[in-house]
């Protein structure tokens, strides 16, 4: 949306309106999830109060490093993205996919009851909207639909926040996924020193907005908002050019760089756990003592786990080299074949939360610059 379009629809909401927004959403039956400080990081947790949203904090992110810093000018949303993503609410880390009961006629297998929870996500960044759209393609737009994701996704209310700062690990601008939220939200906020520029992106959003303490917006406020959003563009130093990425990945399957990165990679799975698009999972049987009632439980898995590719008494990807290669070539290459989109949205989480600081933008640059022997 251009500044001009925003001019027609945007309104100003003072900082105090944030609590009102949460209240309105709660009254509507939404389970509001918002950023919160926990164990030295910004995480996403259910809340009923704007007071739990970390006010006055920014963070310093680097490969393998994350530190919160107090900043008097940071407002409610001065930080960028932390270890959590909204994935954990739409694609839960643990979910029952079916329940089997033994009867005289045999096993009756039934789907789980829908928990009926409607989430309202408060503080969704542009890269995170892009990530949700990527997972929509995985779980909703293929031959089969995942019923758990579908039920939660259909009901979710998204309050987006336009970033006004970028972490050193951010590269959404080069991925064309941010930092400005273009679509996929019900409401979007851009934080100013004394409040928010609020835009509605859906009918549901407009309906909620009508109950908020909104004011006419001044041109100067729109200009300031645009300048702050531009700051999040200008602060980005990393980039991952998307052009040619798919072909590069498939061309470089035998590149010596895979050996080199395998020397550093611990195959710890951190990158896949913090990644907002990684979708791999495994299913386990959970049974009661007389094995008459059995739940099938799906849990997040990772292509970095040794037995992920177990087959016929062996493991297909039995080296860290082959597992890192699978992760990166899938994320940046074959994802295009499978879902007609890149699997990476440029959020930088995998860089920050890698315990040895492997930076995929650097790995791609190496794969680009060095030729196959």
């Amino acid at each position: 949306m251009s500044t001009n379009a925003a001019h027609e629809t945007a309104q100003f909401m003072p900082h105090t309106g944030l609590q009102r927004l949460i209240d309105v959403l709660c009254v509507r039956g939404y389970n509001v999830v918002a950023p919160k400080l926990s164990q030295g990081a910004v995480v996403y947790e259910p809340t009923t109060s704007a007071a739990t949203i970390p006010f006055g904090w920014i963070e310093a992110q680097e490969p393998g490093k994350y530190r919160l810093i107090e900043d008097g000018e940071a407002g409610y949303f001065g930080y960028t993205v932390g270890p959590h993503s909204w994935k954990q609410f739409l694609f839960p880390p643990r979910a029952v996919v079916s329940t089997s009961v033994r009867t005289e006629d045999g096993w009756n297998v039934s789907p789980p009851a829908d928990d009926g929870v409607s989430y309202a996500f408060l503080g969704v960044r542009a890269c995170e909207i892009a990530a949700i759209e990527v997972q929509d393609r995985v779980f909703l737009q293929q031959a089969y639909v995942d019923p758990i994701y579908a039920a939660r996704r259909e009901r979710v209310f998204i309050v987006a926040v336009n970033c006004t700062r970028a972490a050193s690990t951010c590269f959404c601008n080069s991925m064309r996924t941010g930092p400005r939220c273009q679509r996929g939200f019900d409401l979007a906020l851009t934080e100013l020193p004394d409040g928010f520029v609020l835009e509605a992106g859906s009918d549901r959003g407009r309906e909620i907005a009508r109950q908020l303490p909104l004011q006419m917006i001044a041109d100067a406020q729109l200009v300031t908002a645009e300048q702050l959003r531009q700051r999040a563009v200008d602060q980005q130093t990393r980039s991952l050019p998307v052009d040619g990425l798919h072909d590069l990945m498939l061309r470089q399957l035998q590149h010596p760089r895979w050996n080199e990165v395998a020397e550093r990679c611990l195959s710890c799975t951190n990158c896949t756990q913090v990644c907002p698009t990684c979708f791999c999972s495994s299913v386990q049987e959970v049974t009661d003592l007389d094995a008459a009632h059995v739940d099938r439980v799906r849990t997040w898995d990772s292509c970095f786990n040794f037995d992920f590719s177990y087959m016929n008494g062996g493991v297909v990807r039995n080296t860290i080299r082959s597992r890192y290669r699978q992760w990166l070539t899938h994320k940046l290459g074959t994802w295009f074949d499978q879902f007609d989109t890149c699997g990476c949205v440029g959020c930088g989480r995998c860089i920050t939360w890698c315990p040895v600081g492997i930076d995929l933008t650097e790995e791609v640059a190496a794969l680009r610059s060095e030729s196959t022997p």
């Binding site: 996919v97 079916s98 089997s100 033994r102 006629d105 045999g106 096993w107 009756n108 297998v109 789907p111 995985v138 779980f139 293929q142 031959a143 089969y144 639909v145 995942d146 019923p147 498939l250 399957l253 035998q254 979708f279 791999c280 999972s281 495994s282 299913v283 049987e285 049974t287 094995a291 059995v294 099938r296 799906r298 898995d301 292509c303 992920f308 590719s309 177990y310 087959m311 016929n312 008494g313 297909v316 990807r317 039995n318 080296t319 080299r321 082959s322 290669r325 699978q326 899938h330 074959t334 074949d337 499978q338």
Partner: protein, 284 residues
Amino acid sequence: MSTLIPPSQSPWLAHRATVKEITPEYYGVNTYHLRIEPLPDQRTYDVAPGQFNMLYLPGVGEAAISVSGRNHDDDTWSHTVRTAGGVTRTLEQLGQGAPLAVRGPFGRGWPMEAAVGRDLVFVAGGIGLAPLRPAVAWALAHRSQFGRITLIYGARLPGALLYAREYDAWQQQGLQLQSTVDRAESGWLGNVGVVTLLVDRLRPLNPQQTTLFACGPEIMMRFVANSALARGIPAERLWLSLERNMQCAAGFCGHCQLGPAFVCRDGPVMRHDYIAPYLEVEAL
């Protein structure tokens, strides 16, 4: 092709099934004849040759098993299973009457319709004949629509040649069978050696008119494909059935990926020129 669980629905729904009968094939390999209960609607339920089911033993787990036949007399579907892991061992122990659940059928099978009008060569190794058996049955049921039909089949031992009881009938219906074993036993007067040798020697062969379906160990299929290509069979008429770890069977657990393919969704039967570049890369 209609399936029991139509796409766009939950792939996790499973249907009650019972082991009606077991045909022991050879040591450690049995064919389980499964009845789905209640019987699915014949008008909407069908399994294409080469598709697979997820056989589910609640509390134990699931195994992806190709459907190896349909038995109209007792309304069962055959699944030929090598006893290997927890699920298949439990299935063997439970035996006849065992209650289980079935999800499927899943995946893309052999392109039977596209092969009509051509010579058909089936190449199987070991238990790899199981997913080809419905394709053999389909081709023989539509015998007049094909040219020469050949089955080249290799097993470790003469006693491990799967479905040997059916070979006479297949041959009477117009299938040429060439079998070979890795090790002969007393009384074996046939070929000894790898199936590739029989592909190399196949005569007569009109490669431009031939479609080849192969299923067996990956290494076997690679060599069979090389032989077939060397003999002039075009890559776009070479089809392989592959195997990977499968958990959801619907393309979103990630386990079965091979290059761009989800083997469960884009396979298990895939065209050689699509998948071969990835089979060449170790540990992909």
